[in-house]
């Protein structure tokens, strides 16, 4: 390198010309644009006089004898791209820093060896799902792939509506971040799955707690972060296509991604997914009307220059999900018959048609983001995003209404955020930011069904600050605070009878703006102030052991469903009632993680305790007679709750080719006010897996996994009795007893083939429920009516090009 510099010196020194009367001095410093370190040995050539200089060990150089004019400097460094800078010599001494960029080879190495994605929390273990696993679930949903982590389970409605449950909590308590955008997709509903195409993610991280304050302060359960592929700074065009076919549901999926990138930092990426399934099947029967159709597409265009960048992103997600026909019931009398029947009451021949009941959801997401790194300030990022979520639910209806949706909700959200990441000193970093959200919900009255969620406008403003402090090489401390202000302006029609029954007529007479006789139009205006915070520490004992400690205070404003639900929920055959008087739910979670990372064996043990004040829970309270028969009434209420649990992972190589890993999780939820177990807590799960690797035979991997789900023995008794006129008896409707424990075996195989220097092919075979076992899961809302999925043979072909 010095030789090159000397050669350059020799080459150019004979051309050197000195102007008279010029005595201006340039004091320069060469800095690595990527990490800000000084670059020594860079060659600086002043264009014109063609004088050459070398930067010293501190990256500094001095050019004397310049005139009062503009100069061009060509700066080169063996490890960096050569770049030309312009300098105006308008004072006698000009001091300037020059940032040059590493060659992409170097950057790629950094990307591969280091953490390609920003850390979300320093003191909470980040559970990351790798791209290979995400790809192997290409035809599934986000909830399915998250299920592979310990401590994460799912709340299902059938097998296509899968909501992630983190340490026993779900829905509004789990924040989902998709490419930097907080998803606003009516996540409040238990049968509303996240509207996100798994295939847009290259990497998914789960934080089992609310410590990632930059995203939200109300993630009582946790945060799921899905990030797209990081595009390298090089001229290339690459893509991948994944084709899957599955025996159960007799369908499959195709997804393709194509990315073009340039060395100058510009990139563009196009992605699309199509999934189509017919009725799924339990071991003994067809699960009629459980077909599924999904179409997604996304486009990303951006410029990444390390020190600054911009990105535009748009995605559309559109699906149609059939809901088990046998789960649609009239009233409690029908429920007794359906629950007592071993088999679903309606079993039809297999079909790809998706009839009623079904859901149809469209989610649009558009974002513009930009960042710039400033020398003495840090990295400033700005983001604006727009989301529109349109949900239709079609029920079994009569007459002219037969083809009309029963639920037609349109949720529109605008979100802007400004964030700053700065290094306060060598060992202290500060993340701060402010955010503003405007959200509007519109419930279309033409459905001819009273609104499930009322029309509202919501404004939200928040600000946060998180400090990381590296105390010593082994100890890192983290602390953060966040404040959110929420204002909701709601227009809701209450039935006069309910308004009076709940005593709202005496509590809130001022809210009524119009009396329509049997209905009242009210205008509740609600304000919530939520403080959240976190403190934590990470201690590194040595290269093998790490200890994470984290305390998170999360505060969540009640959602529209918890506040305003009112009426019959057909899919659950129950009347649901919200409560206008709710205040925010406040959680305090302490979690501890001991991690061991070594070649002979590794493990993580993560015990936690979560105390939740004013926990909002929905539970059955009574039975109400209507002209349709009797219905169970479920009311939301607030209580003191605690969740205690532990997540364990362990892995070890048994031989040089055989690996073993195991996962166990358990959570106990208690309603402390009533001294009863909490409803719908996931059962303890034990998963063991053996994997045989043969790298020489086309990287063949064979794996066998055993999944044992214990019976949930702790549940509140919410059974009720209903009068059956024909037998003149009262019958118990058993809606609370959890199903039995079950054991499933899954098999997997994988092989890689090289097609040519640029393309490779991966074949995967996955057989879930290998033994075709009949089982029901406590957290599947359709468990009363039908068994879960039988054996499913899935073929997966991936081509990288």
């Amino acid at each position: 390198m010095r030789i090159i510099a000397l050669v350059l010196l020799c080459l150019y020194s004979n051309l050197t010309l000195y102007s008279q009367d010029c005595n201006y001095t340039l004091e320069g410093k060469i800095i690595d644009l990527h990490d800000g370190t000084a670059l020594s040995g860079a060659t600086i050539i002043v264009v014109g006089p063609e004088t050459a200089y070398l930067s010293d060990l501190d990256g500094k150089f001095i050019v004397n004898g310049l005139c009062n004019q503009e100069y061009k400097l060509q700066i080169s460094h063996p490890e960096c791209n050569t770049k030309v800078f312009t300098v105006s010599m308008n004072t006698e001494i000009v001091t300037k820093a020059f940032r040059i960029e590493h060659h992409l080879e170097e950057l790629n190495q950094i990307t591969i060896s280091g953490n390609a994605y920003a850390t979300k929390s320093e003191t909470l273990l980040e559970n990351t799902i790798s791209q290979e696993i995400v790809e192997s679930y290409s035809n599934g949903s986000l909830g399915d792939v998250l299920n592979t982590l310990s401590g994460v389970s799912s709340l299902n409605t059938g097998n296509t509506v899968v909501k992630p449950v983190i340490n026993g909590l779900h829905s509004s308590r789990v924040t989902i971040i998709n490419n930097g955008v907080r998803m606003q997709d009516q996540e409040w509903g238990a049968e509303h799955a996240p509207n996100i195409d798994l295939n847009t993610a290259s990497n998914i991280t789960v934080l089992k707690g609310a410590s990632a304050l930059q995203y939200s302060g109300d993630a009582v359960g946790g945060v799921v972060v899905s990030e797209p592929l990081r595009v390298a700074l090089k001229d290339s065009l690459f893509g991948k296509t994944i084709l899957t076919a599955a025996s159960n549901g007799r369908g499959g999926s195709i997804t393709s991604t194509l990315t073009k990138s340039y060395e100058n930092g510009w990139f563009a990426s196009l992605q699309g997914t199509l999934k189509r399934f017919g009725d799924f099947e339990a071991p003994d029967y067809v699960l009629s009307n459980t077909g599924f159709f999904e179409r997604d597409a996304s486009i990303r265009v951006g410029l990444n220059r390390i020190s600054y960048g911009v990105e535009g992103y748009y995605s559309i997600f559109k699906n149609k999900i059939g809901i088990l026909r046998a789960s649609h019931l009239g009233g409690a009398e029908d429920q007794v018959v359906a629950i007592n029947s071993e088999r679903p009451l309606i079993i039809r021949d297999f079909t790809y048609d998706i009839d009623v009941p079904r859901q149809e959801v469209t989610h649009h997401l558009a974002k513009i983001s930009a960042f710039k790194k400033f020398d003495n300030l840090g990295k400033v990022s700005f983001q604006y995003n727009f989301q529109k979520n349109n949900r239709f639910e079609f029920d079994i209806r009569r007459g002219d209404d037969a083809d009309k949706a029963s639920v037609d909700l349109e949720l529109t959200t605008h979100d802007i955020a400004l964030d700053l990441l700065s290094d306060l000193s060598e060992n202290t970093t500060l993340k701060t930011g402010i955010t503003g959200v405007y959200q509007s919900n519109f419930a279309d009255p033409t459905t001819g069904v009273r609104r499930l969620i009322p029309d509202y406008d919501m404004y939200k403003f928040g600000g946060y600050g998180v400090v990381d402090f590296t105390l010593s090489e082994n100890l890192l401390l983290e602390g953060g605070l966040r404040f959110d202000y929420t204002y909701m302006d709601v227009f809701k029609f209450y039935r006069t009878s309910l308004w009076e029954e709940r005593g709202y007529d005496e509590l809130f007479p001022e809210l009524v703006i119009e009396d329509l006789g049997d209905q009242l139009l009210t205008n509740p205006e609600l304000t919530f102030n939520n403080f959240s915070g976190t403190v934590g520490a990470t201690y590194r004992f040595n290269d093998i052991y790490n200890l994470f400690f984290n305390y998170a205070l999360a505060s969540r404003a009640p959602n529209a469903s918890e506040l305003f639900s009112e009426g019959l929920h057909h899919s659950a055959s129950r009347i649901e009632l919200g409560d206008l008087r709710f205040n925010s739910e406040v959680s305090q979670k302490i979690s501890l993680t001991l991690q061991r990372n070594a070649s002979n064996y590794s493990f993580t043990v993560n015990p936690y305790i979560n105390f939740i004040e004013d926990f909002i829970v929905i539970e059955p309270t009574s039975v109400q007679q209507t002209i349709r028969g009797n219905f169970q009434v479920w009311e939301y209420r607030q209580t003191q709750a605690s969740l205690v649990g532990v997540d364990i992972n362990f892995e070890t190589p048994l031989t040089s080719q055989l690996d073993f890993d195991t996962q166990f999780d358990i959570v106990k939820g208690r309603d402390k006010t009533r001294d009863l177990p909490l409803i719908n807590m996931p059962a303890a799960t034990l998963k063991n897996r053996l994997q045989y690797n043969m790298p020489k035979i086309k990287n063949l991997q064979l794996s066998l996994q055993s999944e044992y789900v214990f019976r949930q023995n702790e549940f509140p008794d919410t059974n009720f009795e209903v009068f059956i006129p024909q037998t003149e008896t009262f019958e118990v409707v058993d809606v609370s007893t959890p199903p039995d424990a079950y054991h499933l075996l899954h098999f997997g195989a994988n092989m890689d083939f090289k097609v040519n220097s640029k393309s490779n092919l991966n074949f995967g075979l996955r057989i879930t429920n290998l033994l075709d076992t009949s089982y029901r899961n406590y957290l599947n809302r359709l468990r009363y009516y039908a068994d879960d999925l039988g054996r499913n043979i899935q073929l997966n072909i991936k081509i990288n090009y």
Binding site: L377, L516, P725, Q726
Partner: protein, 184 residues
């Protein structure tokens, strides 16, 4: 300087957001279209022509107030010609849902469940296109003096033909209205 620019962008966008927000239009009222509030069973004594009306009325739909029931007293050992009318009385004038039931007669059927010691029998007097009963009209014959409940059940998409019991009919319950009846 750039920070100020960014902040100003943030500020301007927040103003834009504010101005985009819709004005205070109040939403439109929704009256449940398929709601059934009322079942009226008119029983006309075939010989005397006098009639008894049994009603089951739940004006506020699912939840809210309990239904209001008008029981009836029938004469012993008498045959009555029964007619069922189903209404949505939240609309003015009340919507006659019976017409919809008759339009989709192959997808509907009324069942009559006699319980609580009531001494009476029923028979269908109407039929859909396939010759299966609909149950909008029926005959009820009382026996000796007794009392109990007569439950009118409307099933959507029942198995047709069936033996007239809820278990054999299947389908979904649209109406289940038990009405006390006294035979004397």
């Amino acid at each position: 300087m750039k920070t100020i620019k960014l902040l100003s962008i943030l500020f301007i966008s927040s103003i834009l957001l504010q101005s985009c927000s819709n004005d205070d239009d109040t939403p439109e009222e929704v009256n449940e279209e398929e709601l059934i509030t009322t079942l009226i069973a008119t029983l006309r004594d075939a010989s005397t022509g006098s009639s008894v009306t049994l009603t089951f009325r739940d004006l506020d739909g699912d939840g809210g107030d309990d239904p209001v029931v008008t029981p009836g007293t029938l004469a012993a050992n008498t045959t009555y010609n029964g007619t069922i009318q189903v209404l949505n009385e939240t609309e003015t004038p009340a919507e006659d849902i019976t017409l919809e039931v008759l339009e989709e007669d192959d997808e509907h059927q009324f069942l009559y469940v006699i319980g609580g010691g009531l001494n009476a029998t029923t028979e269908y007097t109407d039929a859909d296109g396939d010759g299966n009963p609909i149950g909008v009209t029926f005959n009820l014959t009382t026996g000796d003096a007794s009392s109990g409940t007569l439950t009118f059940i409307l099933r959507h998409e029942p198995t047709k033909p069936n033996d007239g019991t809820p278990a054999s009919a299947g389908g979904e319950t649209d109406i289940s209205a038990p009405i006390p009846v006294n035979v004397q």
